[in-house]
Symmetry: C2
Subunit: 99 residues, 2 copies
DNA sequence: CAACTACTTGCGCGTTTGCGCAAGTAGTGA
DNA sequence: TCACTACTTGCGCAAACGCGCAAGTAGTTG
């Protein structure tokens, strides 16, 4: 049977945990759900998620440094998108685990 | 194309975030890796992960209330195991996202 | 340049988290 | 019942987190 490796070093586990932390907040999960439909600006995201722009910027910074989202600047607005489709796969798996 | 549902209510997202939080600590990830090889007692886990028994008990409590691990008592020792194989799948996905 | 929009960053504060330690509970065996 | 092992729980503290708010940066427009 397939038995993909799961063991890791302390340093690696630290980075995996950073991904976990990024997934540990409802608003950030809401951001991922929104980005599943396509890229959004910071102000659009803050409106759809329901928080102030600086707060959204902080959440996006957490998601970005965990490598879950990527940013693109166009003029003076910044668009965020999912960094990888596997982000959604991971989130869906977590959803089934929690249900 | 397949477009599995990703949208959730606030209450649901709260529980998904609890799973995220459970995955947000290196020691807890280490526990999952250890349990991938089979069930372990609390003292075995604390030895392999490298922390004190009460601390391990607290981590296990977080994992258990997130539904990621399950417990079984035999005599006066408690054995923990992964609640579901999909826990490993989710962890592996997170590993690939972080690498 | 000034003024405006869009976003990011720094700061302070209340809450949560991870930890060690001490005390409590549960089960075994003499 | 008493002692022992195995685990859980409560408490206090330092560190990290989420948040609002004010200030700063970046880019556009006149």
């Amino acid at each position: 049977m397939d038995r993909p490796d799961v063991g890791s070093s302390d340093a690696e586990r630290q980075r995996f945990a950073a991904v976990g932390r990024a997934l540990a907040d409802p608003k950030r999960l809401c951001v991922l759900e929104t980005l599943a439909a396509g890229e959004r600006s910071v102000s659009e995201l803050s409106r759809e998620v329901g928080c102030h722009v600086p707060n959204m910027s902080q959440h996006l910074s957490v998601l970005r440094s965990a490598g879950l989202v990527a940013a693109r600047r166009d003029g003076n607005t910044v668009f965020y998108r999912l960094a990888d489709q596997r982000v959604l796969e991971a989130y869906r798996l977590i959803q089934t685990l929690a249900r």
